[in-house]
């Protein structure tokens, strides 16, 4: 295993120290329990957005803490949901009196721990709404399973809801927006290579030189299918087809297109994917009104990409364009 780390056990704590050192004007890092919060939290009268999940997906979520996006992020161990006390303490610390929205990716661990945290917070009289993001079309949706995973749409939901909360919208409206973003966002990912979890020390799966995994999540788990390696254009089709086939995209729709790198994918490759994805969207009659290209929700050192399409409306556009000032997403401020 080749990583710029000191010890597997120290990865999360030391990265938090690095983030704190680098971004002290934007964020504050609290320890034991661990969470990252806006430097100016709590913001009175503003709904507070709290998210979190296993580490290893950076910049999500810690890199998205700051004005116009998250109020707090709770980092778990690598690929392991954080614990309820982290979420509970974070919720207390950032609650500005207007309640707290928990943005939860749909993984059993995240869902269960956030459930417990919400119970604890409500018991202290804090208004909590939880929205579970489950946008991964690689996973069949059924009441018999854990349901779809939460992936790329999470980043977009955090930005858009952050923009809305900044305008002092009430908790119900922010939660409603979060549900709308989730309902209108779809994602699909693929891997050229597995990632290596620090404490495991070897890749989480083996892929031959001419193979790839289609339908991966963000935890180094294998995808739905292992297939022969294809050219970028074909890979883009293989990601776009299931995304487009799933509701809710129809001709004429304005969409945000998010081409994401899994952690070890160079920018040049993401633009080659974007080029084809935009072409496919155009052929489908979609209007790409906004986009995001970069590594924002990652899986350690996995090489690969995911594509998220989000059907936009006016309010979502306004909230997307609103200023954001976080370590990893920043504009208008």
């Amino acid at each position: 295993m080749k990583k710029l780390i000191n010890a597997p056990e120290a990865v999360v704590a030391e990265a938090l120290e690095g983030m704190e050192a680098a971004h002290s004007s934007l964020i504050k890092v609290c320890r034991a329990p661990d969470f990252i919060m806006r430097a100016d939290a709590p913001v009175a009268g503003k709904v507070a957005l709290v998210s979190g999940g296993g580490s290893g997906h950076e910049p999500m979520h810690g890199g998205f803490v700051g004005r116009g996006m998250l109020d707090a992020a709770c980092p778990g161990a690598v690929f392991t949901s954080p614990t309820p006390d982290q979420m509970f303490e974070a919720s207390k610390a950032v609650n500005g009196g207007a309640g707290v929205l928990h943005i939860v990716k749909n993984y059993t661990g995240d869902v269960l721990n956030f459930e417990m945290a919400a119970d604890l917070a409500r018991a202290e009289g804090i208004a909590v709404e939880s929205v579970v993001i489950d946008d991964d079309v690689a996973v069949e949706d059924s009441t018999w399973t854990a349901g779809r995973r939460g992936v790329g749409t999470t980043v977009l939901a955090e930005k858009i809801c952050g923009g809305l909360a900044e305008r002092k919208a009430p908790l119900t409206a922010v939660a409603e927006m979060c549900r709308r973003v989730n309902a209108q966002g779809r994602s699909m990912g693929m891997a050229l290579s597995a990632c290596t979890v620090p404490h495991v020390g070897k890749p989480s799966f083996d892929l031959a030189d001419d193979e790839m995994e289609i339908g991966i999540g963000i935890h180094g788990e294998p995808g739905r299918h292992r297939v022969k390696l294809e050219k970028a254009d074909r890979i883009t089709e293989m990601l776009m087809e299931p995304v487009l086939a799933d509701l809710p995209f129809k001709s004429g729709d304005p969409v945000l297109m998010f081409v994401n790198g899994m952690g070890a994918t160079p920018a040049v490759e993401l633009y080659i994917i974007y080029r084809k994805a935009a072409e496919i969207a155009r052929k489908h009659g979609l209007k790409v009104v906004r986009n995001l290209v970069g590594s924002y929700i990652t899986s350690l050192d996995m090489a690969g990409t995911s594509i998220t399409l989000l059907k936009m409306d006016e309010e979502m556009l306004t909230c997307w364009d609103a200023p954001v000032l976080t370590p990893s997403l920043r504009w208008g401020a």
Binding site: G54, F79, L112, E115, S204, F205
Partner: protein, 208 residues
């Protein structure tokens, strides 16, 4: 030693902590093909914290013991297994409140409360390739052993958990991360069922 004393239960959990530390790599390896390679690390981290808590301040009764275990697991394990095992011990603790030892019947009652709570929390049923598949037959064995000597009942429960664990291999996962793999989840043993068996085996066979 006909009953499960607070001492015996404390010893169990301390020895289980050592087991889980030992099994860390194995459980994590089981979690690689159908999960995210962390179950062993999660359990070892949680039970190391349990060990520290129990050594620092040994609880006076089984209820307090189980509740301490529950709270510690909830705040240190994370993932799916943290809240699930946490809920198991929390609900079990409710039935053991103030008791300094448990009869087989009482332990069975604790176990049932624990499992019911865990299943409610995880919305899981038997046959979905989770720890429930080790715990459910274990509970059935405890019930079937009602009236028999305690050690025999615990051994039966451990054996049933082992069988239940093995039975997860051919299962198609419906819950947890393994469910994302669909058909590809078949042929792998569930890590959570494996840690459940490990815990119950140690209760039946104290290292001494």
């Amino acid at each position: 030693m006909a009953d499960l004393s607070t001492d015996r239960m404390t010893t169990w959990l301390l020895e289980a902590a050592a087991d889980l530390e030992q099994a860390k790599a194995y459980l994590t390896e089981l979690d690689a093909p159908i999960g995210d390679s962390d179950h062993g690390v999660n359990m070892a981290r949680g039970f190391a914290a349990v060990r520290d808590k129990l050594t620092a301040a040994p609880p006076a009764d089984v209820g307090t013991l189980l509740k301490t275990v529950a709270m510690t697991l909830i705040s240190t394990v994370g993932g799916a297994s943290g809240p699930l095992y946490g809920t198991f011990f929390l609900q079990a603790a409710g039935k053991a409140a103030g008791k300094t030892s448990l009869t087989l019947a009482e332990w069975t009652e604790c176990f049932e409360a624990g499992l019911t709570g865990l299943m409610a929390r995880g919305k899981a049923q038997p046959g979905e390739k989770t720890m429930v598949d080790a715990l459910t037959p274990a509970l059935a064995a405890l019930k079937a052993a009602a009236g028999q000597p305690l050690e025999q009942a615990l051994a039966a429960a451990a054996a049933a958990a082992e069988q239940g664990m093995k039975d997860t291999i051919p299962m198609l996962a419906h819950k947890g991360r393994a469910s994302y793999l669909g058909e590809r989840s078949i042929g792998h043993q569930d890590p959570g069922a494996t840690s459940s068996h490990l815990l119950l085996r140690r209760l039946a066979e104290p290292a001494g």
